[in-house]
Symmetry: C2
Subunit: 523 residues, 2 copies
C-alpha cells in the first residue's frame, strides 16, 4: 500500500470485523491424484499455516496423496485397487512411445481417459453413498470445499453440504469449466483442445477448429456421461455436471497470459499460473557440484514428468547417444536399467529437484513432456524447452510455447539421436529462444500479487463472504435460445416482416385501385 | 508475500534488472476535464511520488485541470473559450430540472454532449496541428501516454509518438471501449447504456435492450463521427477511433463487480473502482463539531456533484421544507442565494469533503446525483444513497445501486418535500438498505491489491515492458465475418448441402432407374 495516501483502512477493518474472523476457517479439500495434487498441496499447506483447518479426503488407492503433519486426512474406501490404477497408467505410458495417427491418438487418449474416469466415478459414488462418513463430514461444519473439478466428487460434496466451492485447476477436457461459467470462446481465435491451432489461424485452420469443436463436444458427452449420471443420482435437482460446476464461487486457474493466448475471461476467474514455482530448499551437494562443474556450456535437465520415468531401451539409447555428443552436462530422471557405459556428462537420478535446477544460472535447456507444471517452471526460470508431448493437454501446452518462440517439439515415438542433437543445439546456440523466454518470464513474474498469495486470498474471501455471488453472471438463468437472443431476434423479425408484408399489401392494393380507376377513366 | 515459501525473488530481481529501472519513467498525461480528472490526478501524483516524471497537457480553457507542484504542465491553446464551455455546461445543468420524455431526454443529452465533444475535437485538432509543440513533446522521449479515452487526444498522441497508451476511465458512451478491446457483451444479460435494464431481464426488457443497442450504435456513430474524421486526418492508416483505441496496452477501469454486474471481461482490463476513496485529511473543526452534534440520528450529505451546485429556488424550497422535518442534520453543498430562514439542522457549504464525511460513523444517507465517484465513495463507506440522476451515465449507475437494494431514486424535475421525506426516512429506518450496503462495501473493499496500487503497478508494467502485447487478443486482426466464423459456417454449409444434394440426386437417379427397369419388366 502506498505511503502517500491514506486508504480507508479503518473502514476495511470494521467490515472485516463485521464479517467475522478469517482465521480458523474449515476447509474440506477434495484433491485429484497425480501432479494435480502437487500444486494444490501448496495452497492447502499455506491455508493451514495461516490458521485454517484443512481436511484432505484421500481415496484408499492413491499415488501421490498421503497424510501429512500439515493437514488432517480422511481415507475413504474405493472399489478399485492400486493395481487397477497402475494398469491404466502403464497402458497410457506404453502408448506414448508407439506411433499413432492423429485420430487414433485421440481415440486412445479418450479411451484410457474414460476408463480412468469411470474408476474414479465409482470411487466417488462409494464415497457419496457412505452415509456414516457423509454425516461425519457434514457435522464438521466446513466453510468451503477446495477441489479440482477434474473429478466431480468435490463439487458434489459442496452441493450436499450446501457450502461454496473453490475450484483449483489447469483446465478441463473440452473446456467444460469455461462452458460452466458461461465464458465466451469465439472459435475464430480461441483454439479448441487437441486442434494444434494457435490464436492466429488461417481459413483451413479455422475450419478445423470448428470441426474439432463439434467432434470434441460429442466426445466429451461420452467422457462426462458418467459424471452426469452420478450428479443426477446424488445432487437432487441438478441434471449435469456442468450445471453443478456453474455454482462454483471462485475458479483458481493455473494459467496466465504468459502461457495462454489472450481471450475473454469471466469475473470469477483468478489466474494463479506459476504457483508451483516456489522453491523450498537449496540443491543437494552432489547435484550442486555436478551442475557447477558444467562450465560455460551449462547443463540440461531431462524429465518426462511424474508419470513417465521409464522408457524402452531402444528409445533410451537414442538419447544416450545424443547426450554423449553434447558439451553440456545432462541430469536425467531415469528409472530403468541404465546401460553399463553411461557417458560421464550424464547423471541419472530417480527424482529431480526440477524447479531448483531450473533456477540455476547454468541451466540451458529442459527436455520435458510439456505438463503444465514443467512448462511454468521453465517460464519462471526462463529456460528454453525441448518438448515431447505425451498425452492429455501436453500437445496443446507445447503449441503455446512454440508460438512464443521459446521451445522446440519432437515426438517420442520417432525420436532419433540426430533429432535430439539438432533440437538441443538449436535451443542452446540460437540466442532468440533464450531472449524470447526471458521476455516471457519477465511478463509472467511481473505481477502485483504472487499466485499463492492470490489463491489463498480468494479462498479466504469465499470463507469471509460465504461465497462470491456478486461474481456470478445472470447468464446462468438463461437457456441457450435466450442467451443468444434468438427469441428476441425472431420476435423482431416477425414484426419487421409483418410490417413489410402489410405495407406491401397496402401499396399493391393502392396501385391496383389506382390502375382500375385510371382504366375506368380511360374507358 | 507469504513467509513460509520461498518465491523466485532473485529471479524476479534479475528480470527486472534486465528490463531496466522502473523509476524514472516519463509519462505524458492527457486528461479530460471535470470529475474525470479528479481521480486520474490521484494516479499522476502517486506516479510522481514514486519517481516518475509526469507532464500533464492542459487546454488553456479548462475547469479543473490546473498546475501543481506534483507534476509539470504544458498549457496548449484551444479554439474555444472558458465561456463557451460554461455555456454548454449551464445548458446541461438547467436541463436537469426540466421534465422531458425519455426520448427527448436522450436527444437532449446526446445533443449537448455532441456539442461539447465537437469543441473538444477542435481543441485536439489544434494541438495535433501545433507542430512546434508536437516536436517538443516528441523530443521529450515519453515512455507512455496515460489518458482518458473519453476524448481522442491522448490516443492520437500515443500513435503519433509510437508509445503505448494506458487508458484510465469509467466507461465510454455506447461502451466503445469494450468494442475496441473485442470484449463480448451478450445482449441477453448485459444491459445497454440508457436502457434502464439490469442484468436480469424479462422478454420485453430484452427486446428493449436489443432495440436500444441498435439505436445507440447509430447515435454513437454520430457522436464519434468527428473523432473518426480527426483520426483519419492525424493518425495515418487508421480509419476509426475504435481501431485507434484497440492498440491500448492496459485499460484501468474505474469499476468492479460491487458496482457493475458480472459480465465477460478481457485480459487487459484492470479494475480500479474506488480509487477515489482515499482520504487525505481529517474533517475541519466546524464540520466535525456539526456532525458530532447530530446525536443518534446522525447526518445526511447532500450534493449534486462538481457540475451542479445551484438549483432553482422552488426546487431548493422543497428540499429545505423536507430537511427541516428530519431529525437528522444535513450538510448541503449549496451555491445559490440561501433563504433567510435556513433551519438549524442544515448547514450550507460551497464545498464538501464528501468522502471524509461519508467515513464518519454518524453518516446516515447521501443524497447525490449518482456520478461514479460519489457512488464509489458511498460504497467504500457503506452509506445508503438517495439518488437524483441528472445526465450521462448517472441513470445507469443508479440502476446498479437500486438492484443491489442500497439506494432509492427520485427525479430532479418533479421533486417534492413529501417524496424526499419518504425516501430519506425509508433509507434511514429500513435497516435492509444499510445491511445490503455493508455487504456490498465489504465485497468491494476486500481485495488483494488497493486500486491505486493496481493502477500504478500496471502503468509501470507498461513502462517496464514497453507495452503489454501478450494481453492483446488476436481477434483484432479479424473482420466481422471472420470473428463470427460466418465464412467457416458458410463453407461448411455449402459442403453439407452439396453432399446432401449429390446424395439426393444419386438416390433419385437410382430410384428412377429402378422404376424404369421394373416398368420395362412389367411391360
Amino acid at each position: 500500500m502506498s505511503g502517500g495516501v491514506w486508504f480507508p483502512t479503518l473502514g476495511l477493518v470494521a467490515w472485516l470485523c463485521f464479517l467475522g474472523p478469517v482465521q480458523g476457517g474449515k476447509v474440506l479439500v477434495v484433491p485429484v491424484d497425480g501432479s494435480h495434487w502437487l500444486s494444490m498441496k501448496i495452497v492447502v499447506k499455506e491455508l493451514v499455516r495461516r490458521g485454517h483447518d484443512a481436511l484432505v479426503l484421500v481415496p484408499e488407492s492413491s499415488m501421490l496423496i498421503h497424510g501429512s503433519e500439515n493437514y488432517r486426512t480422511e481415507v475413504f474406501p474405493v472399489p478399485y485397487t492400486q493395481d487397477d490404477l497402475d494398469q491404466i497408467f502403464n497402458k497410457m505410458k506404453d502408448g506414448v512411445f508407439v506411433k499413432n495417427t492423429g485420430i487414433r491418438e485421440l481415440y486412445e487418449s479418450v479411451y484410457h481417459f474414460a476408463h480412468f474416469l469411470s474408476l474414479q466415478v465409482d470411487g466417488c459414488d462409494r464415497l457419496l453413498s457412505n452415509k456414516s462418513l457423509m454425516t461425519r463430514l457434514k457435522d464438521e461444519g466446513f466453510d468451503l470445499v477446495l477441489t479440482d473439478p477434474f473429478l466431480p466428487c468435490g463439487s458434489m460434496l459442496s452441493h450436499a453440504f450446501s457450502i461454496p466451492a473453490v475450484y483449483f485447476l489447469h483446465g478441463l477436457p473440452c473446456e467444460l469449466h469455461l462452458e460452466a461459467i458461461q465464458c465466451p470462446s469465439p472459435l475464430s481465435y480461441v483454439p479448441v483442445f487437441f486442434s494444434e491451432n494457435t490464436d492466429v489461424m488461417t481459413f483451413p485452420q479455422r475450419v478445423k477448429n470448428m470441426l474439432m469443436s463439434l467432434v470434441m463436444s460429442n466426445m466429451c458427452k461420452l467422457i462426462y456421461r458418467d459424471f452426469d449420471t452420478l450428479v443426477r443420482k446424488h445432487s437432487g435437482g441438478i441434471t449435469t455436471y456442468q450445471e453443478l460446476m456453474s455454482h462454483g464461487a471462485i475458479w483458481l486457474l493455473r494459467s496466465d497470459f504468459a502461457f495462454d493466448w489472450p481471450r475473454p475471461i469471466m469475473s470469477n476467474i483468478v489466474f494463479i499460473g506459476g504457483i508451483n514455482c516456489a522453491k523450498t530448499a537449496p540443491l543437494p551437494a552432489d547435484l550442486e557440484a555436478f551442475v557447477d562443474g558444467s562450465g560455460d556450456d551449462g547443463f540440461i535437465i531431462f524429465t518426462l514428468g511424474s508419470m513417465v520415468s521409464k522408457m524402452p531401451e531402444d528409445k533410451a539409447k537414442e538419447f544416450f547417444d545424443a547426450f554423449k555428443q553434447l558439451p553440456q552436462r545432462v541430469l536425467w530422471r531415469f528409472d530403468g536399467v541404465p546401460p553399463t557405459d553411461v557417458p560421464k556428462n550424464i547423471k541419472l537420478l530417480k527424482w529431480l529437484p526440477q524447479n531448483d535446477l531450473l533456477g540455476h544460472p547454468k541451466a540451458k535447456v529442459i527436455i520435458t513432456h510439456g505438463g503444465s507444471h514443467s512448462i511454468y517452471e521453465a517460464i519462471c526460470n526462463a529456460v528454453p524447452m525441448l518438448v515431447f508431448p505425451l498425452f492429455g493437454d501436453q500437445l496443446d501446452n507445447v503449441h503455446r510455447m512454440l508460438s512464443r518462440g521459446v521451445a522446440e517439439k519432437l515426438t517420442a515415438h520417432d525420436v532419433t539421436t540426430e533429432k535430439v542433437l539438432t533440437a538441443v543445439n538449436k535451443l542452446v546456440n540460437d540466442k532468440r529462444y533464450k531472449e524470447n523466454m526471458v521476455k516471457l518470464s519477465a511478463a509472467h513474474l511481473d505481477r502485483p500479487v504472487e499466485p499463492l498469495e492470490s489463491a489463498v486470498f480468494w479462498t479466504e474471501f469465499v470463507i469471509r463472504h460465504k461465497g462470491a455471488p456478486h461474481l456470478r453472471v445472470a447468464a446462468h438463468d438463461l437457456n441457450w435460445i435466450q442467451y443468444h437472443s434468438l427469441d428476441v431476434i425472431g420476435f423482431l423479425l416477425i414484426i419487421v416482416l409483418s410490417v413489410v408484408f402489410v405495407t406491401v399489401k397496402c401499396c399493391l392494393s393502392c396501385i391496383r385501385k389506382c390502375c382500375r380507376s385510371s382504366k375506368r377513366k380511360s374507358d
